[in-house]
Symmetry: C2
């Protein structure tokens, strides 16, 4: 499928190891015991030199030990590697959990030859059970991190995801060539114990740390934070960006000539991964893209787009290929955004179903039939201002309930 | 099943026509064409004399014509009858919708012999299609409102509800006997176009209008407003209380000796109806009651209880009889309430699963098996203060998706 982004972007294979100076790998350690078959469950990602780092973490009042462990390290602005596991989130595990995160970092650091204090930790999976540290340590020891190991690492962080999610882009800016790689996992807009969102981004660009943080924040706000409404809700959600500078030149900052293109490229990678996350929602058959325009403010647009995307009614209407205009209006109405029905228009796919307060004449059947695609776009024009935002979600199917009701039993 | 409430309350049959001076009836007019068989779809409820009235309406930015019609009438404080229909919500129907609501009130007033300006209107059902006024007028004309017609009226307002919901209580206070009746419809925490919440309450107590409004508001806050999170979200949600004074005596107000008991009785009826609404959620097999205590504030307690109740993860965990403690903690954590995990305890049914930050030793299987009941109670003690609140919801089953994905197709 064609990726969205400016034409000067070249899309590459390789994910997080596509940029210069990165290596990764994975092993099966038996942490993730609940799947049908053995699958990678421990992964390592490392740069050949220290990086500047930026990070965004879950806003949930309950967070896992890894997030508590990472926060001060990211705040310090330097990191060189990530050790990750699936199968167990190391959350609500008390003091032991904190010690286990520290131990993971130190074992990974020794194995990789990276200073222990530059290793970040990420764990996803079940909650409230202690990490099987013997298995994790054995798993780390078994990994050979290699320059083509990005796709392996992508598989190691999967939980109920049905496919790995990697992207990478290359572009020229200010006379140099930069590469950005990314990997993500999620699978489930509302399944935070298994479907924590991880999005790890790597680059060979050098970057000033304050600028890197604000750039990551901006990219997160138009991508990962616009999938459903639960990104800031799980206990382990983590978005990290590590810049190792292998491409050479001066560190990117606001005034660097390459900054605008880097920002745009980072957003393109993050949006591509966000769309993959939404498309792979648990039990999902359809990607839903909600475009809101004409909102009184950017905040209103974001709120309306996210509320429509997250609405179980909208999700089931897409699952049932049911052009139920009322459900879209209902969700917009309760989003908290300023709404004047008589100025509001709604498109379902290519069809305008509601124009400035009045349902159009297009037959319900025509619109419903056109919804029978892999991707349904709902567009809402609030007719009030310039605020615009896009959010992504997926349909709610019987499979979703089956996965979530039967999971641990 | 035993109803909850003080022992001095006598529970009666008859619903909204149990109090003195009330009559009701229903007819099948063919508005509700989508069911398998003809069912009442137009209803009338009337007092033999004018009443003081209180009301609470949907906070959705998009509301139906009936709500716009009722608001000024309720604000004026007097009413005598309600005309209701299911099958069509008269929402997003433009000017024609406003005229149709007015016409319904006037036709009902003439038929009932009630001043047209004292008639309120309620419509629930599909959105965006004009009311079939000829059928509705025919339906009104066919109704004979009788003192035993409460149960008929309860059936006329059902949409996807699987059963009618009526309650009534009688009690003595300050030397007089008062009766309160109530009827509700809902069926679907998140299906606002079909599952609008209506809760209409009648009484033979006389009441001062300002006191009646604050008393209804307080009762709504601990009942209908604590079912899931969508009460204030649908476009047609309406709670009304009409007091006709047939029981005699001075109007109830803050200082009236019967006021405390009336308030308590009203809450008992409203909570009984709220629990029925939650229990009859679309596709539901299990009532979920979430009790939060020890919150830093009442607002925090309400927020936490509602968030847990509304969480699709909690709903599916109850459907699957899966004692997945992590999901409860997750929902509490993202509720916005102040949370300190190390002070938090969680009970699932009779079992403490998490005590001040640490999972207990009670086996997962033991707790899961105990969840196999018609009603699952989740209790959370935040250990921070005196705030407490209770919310109700239902499990999320594959049937829910089936109902909502296939409805209009």
């Amino acid at each position: 499928m064609a990726e969205r982004g400016p034409e000067w972007l070249e899309w590459l294979d390789g994910g997080v190891t596509a940029p210069e100076g990165w290596r990764a790998g994975a092993s099966y350690a038996g942490v993730r015991t609940y799947g049908e078959e053995p699958r990678y469950d421990v992964g390592l990602l490392a740069s050949d030199r220290p990086c500047t780092v930026a990070g965004i973490f879950s806003q949930n009042a309950v967070v896992g030990a890894p997030i508590k462990f990472n926060r001060p390290r990211v705040a310090a602005g330097r990191a060189q590697a990530i050790v990750a596991n699936s199968g167990n989130a190391n959350t609500v595990t008390g003091e032991r959990g904190d010690l286990d995160s520290a131990r993971m970092a130190s074992v990974a650091g020794v194995h990789l030859g990276v200073p222990e204090e530059l290793v970040l930790v990420a764990s996803t999976g079940v909650i409230g059970r202690p990490l099987p540290m013997d298995r994790i340590e054995g798993g780390i020891a078994a990994i050979e991190a290699r320059p083509d190991g990005g796709p392996q690492f992508a598989r190691a962080i999967m939980t109920t995801d049905t496919r790995a999610k990697s992207r990478a882009v290359r572009f020229e800016a200010g006379g140099r060539t930069y590469t950005i790689g990314g990997v993500a996992k999620g699978s489930g807009m509302v399944h935070p114990d298994m479907a924590t969102v991880f999005c790890f981004l790597t680059t060979d660009a050098p970057a000033e740390v304050g600028w890197l943080q604000s750039t990551l924040k901006a990219a997160g706000d138009v991508s990962i934070n616009m999938i459903d409404v639960d990104m800031d809700s799980s206990t382990s959600d983590t978005m990290l960006l590590l810049a190792n500078g292998a491409a050479g030149g001066a560190p990117l900052d606001e005034r660097h000539p390459a900054a605008p293109r880097f920002r745009e490229a980072l957003e393109a990678v993050a949006i591509a991964l966000a769309r993959e996350l939404a498309r792979d929602g648990e039990g999902a058959r359809t990607l839903i893209e909600v475009q809101v325009e004409g909102a009184a403010s950017l905040e209103d647009a974001r709120r309306a787009a996210r509320t429509v995307t997250a609405s179980p009614l909208v999700k089931t209407m897409v699952a049932g290929r049911d052009a139920n205009l009322g459900r879209v209006l209902m969700a917009v109405g309760r989003s908290g955004a300023r709404v004047d029905v008589d100025r509001t228009s709604v498109w379902i796919g290519a069809y305008c179903a509601f124009e400035r307060g009045v349902p159009t004449e297009t037959p319900y059947e025509t619109i419903s039939q056109a919804m029978d695609t892999e991707e349904v776009v709902l567009r809402v024009d609030l007719g009030l201002g310039d605020g615009r935002a896009t959010a992504w979600g997926c349909d709610l199917t019987e499979d979703y309930v089956r996965i979530n009701a039967d999971y641990t039993t």
